[in-house]
Symmetry: C2
Subunit: 198 residues, 2 copies
DNA sequence: GTCTATAATGGGATAGAC
DNA sequence: GTCTATCCCATTATAGAC
């Protein structure tokens, strides 16, 4: 962990964000001091303030970056044509894949909402709602097309996201099931959950 | 909030636990000081140590009490006879009802796991696994009876619990839907999710 | 059972040398 | 860009009066 003085490596900024994300996920924002982040990076605490104006902004930037990357990745991955059923399968597999690969950021972006100042909270909440609306739109389209039976699309969208995000609480790479197998198990559950023929 | 000196009310203990639970849920364990808990109760910080040996034990007792009450309430509520389908409906409705009425305790018992010392963590994790096993057992019975099609009962149990606990992120009493309506919407989703006819 | 006072430690953030 | 040193304040927990 210890580093020599004045490394001038030019990559301290990313290293600060990585260390903060990992420590916030492990111990919680309030429990992690700037000194501990600095120690993880291998600098003194004062040096961190070259990369963030304060601790709150560091947290907010981590969360905003995560949410924006989530939305951008889904935008790049969502199928252009196809049925709502195709879109829902793509969403299910995308959500599991993206979130299991970024478990720390997912955890922080949910758990530390309460430690955001009101203005920052509203921005993150808006991005979260945008993502929920992506799922809701797919469900509404499926109802319109006739393949889905969903009484409450907004609630079903939040239920779907809660279901899928739950994978993060137990999934481990090198576990019994591969990511592809987990995707298949969950898509099977999701498919039934919204299907017209119950 | 301010109280006169030496109230001797005899109910300070429960008030300390209530205040701690509420503040931990709102701001997080690490962000809440003993002074803030004391101020909420209306005593000085030193007085809290008549009711808990330290802050960690206060957190642990809140979490253990919640988990034990959850298991006891389900034990009292789970149907003795009936099919696995009946049991699953009872579990679904029970979980939503119990957890929405104790949102603070649910939140703390999940979010503050990382702030428990290892020994305390293991105890809470054990209770959580006991609860998951209740759901898993119902699903396995349903498969044996032939009514359910569940490829991975343990994973499906965790998926079910994640789905149902997600209600807490959006449900508000006096919202558009009553608790009974929410239960019905979720039971409809759960029923389809495990049903043999997809 | 609660208060006041305090010990011992650690917190976020800044100043100025290099 | 990083270091050292420091300011000022908050933290948990304890001691002893009442």
């Amino acid at each position: 962990m210890a580093r020599t003085q004045g490394s001038h490596s030019g990559i301290t900024g990313p290293r600060v964000r990585e260390a903060a994300l990992h420590l916030f996920a492990q111990h919680g924002y309030a429990a992690v001091s700037m000194r501990k982040i600095a120690a993880e990076v291998g600098v003194q605490a004062g040096a961190l303030y070259n990369y963030t104006p304060d601790k709150q902004t560091l947290l907010f930037d981590l969360m905003r970056t995560h949410m924006e990357e989530l939305l951008a990745a889904w935008d790049a991955c969502s199928p252009a044509g196809g049925t709502a059923r195709d879109a829902l399968e793509a969403f299910t597999r995308f959500h599991i894949r993206f979130n299991t690969r970024r478990a720390d950021a997912v955890f922080v972006s949910y758990m530390e909402l309460r430690n955001l100042e009101p203005e920052n909270f509203n921005i993150i909440e808006g991005l979260r709602r945008d993502y929920e609306t992506e799922a809701e739109t797919i469900l509404r389209r499926g109802v319109a097309e006739g393949g889905f039976a969903v009484a409450e699309p907004r609630i079903a969208a939040m239920a779907l996201i809660a279901l899928l995000t739950g994978v993060n609480t137990w999934f481990r790479e090198r576990g019994r099931l591969s990511l592809a197998e987990v995707e298949a198990v969950y898509w099977d559950m999701v498919r039934r959950m919204v299907a017209n023929q119950g």
